[in-house]
């Protein structure tokens, strides 16, 4: 029977799998950049090779992804402990939001070489904004819970 505990466990397993994928990506970044250099067409403000900018962007985004996954791991750990509306979780959501926004910025800079990269930049910024709204909702919930806890 599917329940909340199993769902939480699945989320934690997925986070671990994603962490492994990020770690593996470290070794494949030069190949991905090389592949993209081969398949992409030169449509951007800055011409020339995209190999180095693509590699820098991917490594920066990988660092941000590690940060976001670490925050996600803490968030899930707290939820499994029954600590949902706590200040630490709000900080986790803020961290994830900033990681997404910064990744969007990195892709935005990469888009100077290839306009097509504006698409992932847009999605990253959009996701960052959603997380930011969620963080604000969480902040309010923490405040309400604190008020409820201190009502005698």
């Amino acid at each position: 029977m599917w329940n909340k505990t199993k769902s939480l466990m699945l989320s934690r397993i997925l986070v671990v799998c994603f962490s492994v994928m990020i770690f593996m990506l470290t070794f494949f970044v030069p190949f991905v950049a090389d592949w993209y250099e081969g398949v992409s067409e030169g449509m951007g403000l800055i011409g020339g090779s995209v190999y180095v900018p693509m590699m820098v962007t991917l490594y920066v985004c990988e660092g941000l992804a590690v940060w976001a996954v670490a925050e996600l791991h803490i968030l899930l750990k707290n939820i499994s402990k029954g600590e949902v509306f706590v200040e630490r979780n709000t900080r986790c959501l803020r961290g994830i939001s900033w990681a997404c926004l910064l990744a969007g910025g990195a892709f935005g800079i990469m888009a100077l070489w290839r306009f097509l990269v504006f698409l992932p930049a847009f999605f990253a910024v959009m996701f960052g904004l959603i997380m930011r709204v969620l963080k604000n909702v969480f902040e309010q919930a923490v405040e309400i819970k604190s008020e409820n806890d201190f009502t005698i």
């Binding site: 405040e143 604190s146 008020e147 201190f150 009502t151 005698i152």
Partner: protein
Amino acid sequence: MKGGLFVPIIVNLDVMMAKRKISSNELADIVGITAANLSVLKTGKAKAIRFSTLDKICEALNCQPGDILEWQNPAEKS
């Protein structure tokens, strides 16, 4: 201020308890709240008090809500 606005309400529960010579555990038992919650109320950390709790405290201490709660003018304080 982070964590909510400053509320200039002072809880004089400890004064009233001393006047009635009643201990925290005793009052907590009569009112039906935990000693920890009573401590939160006594130390002024509480953000709100239910009318039902106030009613029981007033009944136990034989006093008025005004004997327990006091509003202090923030301008006078500073």
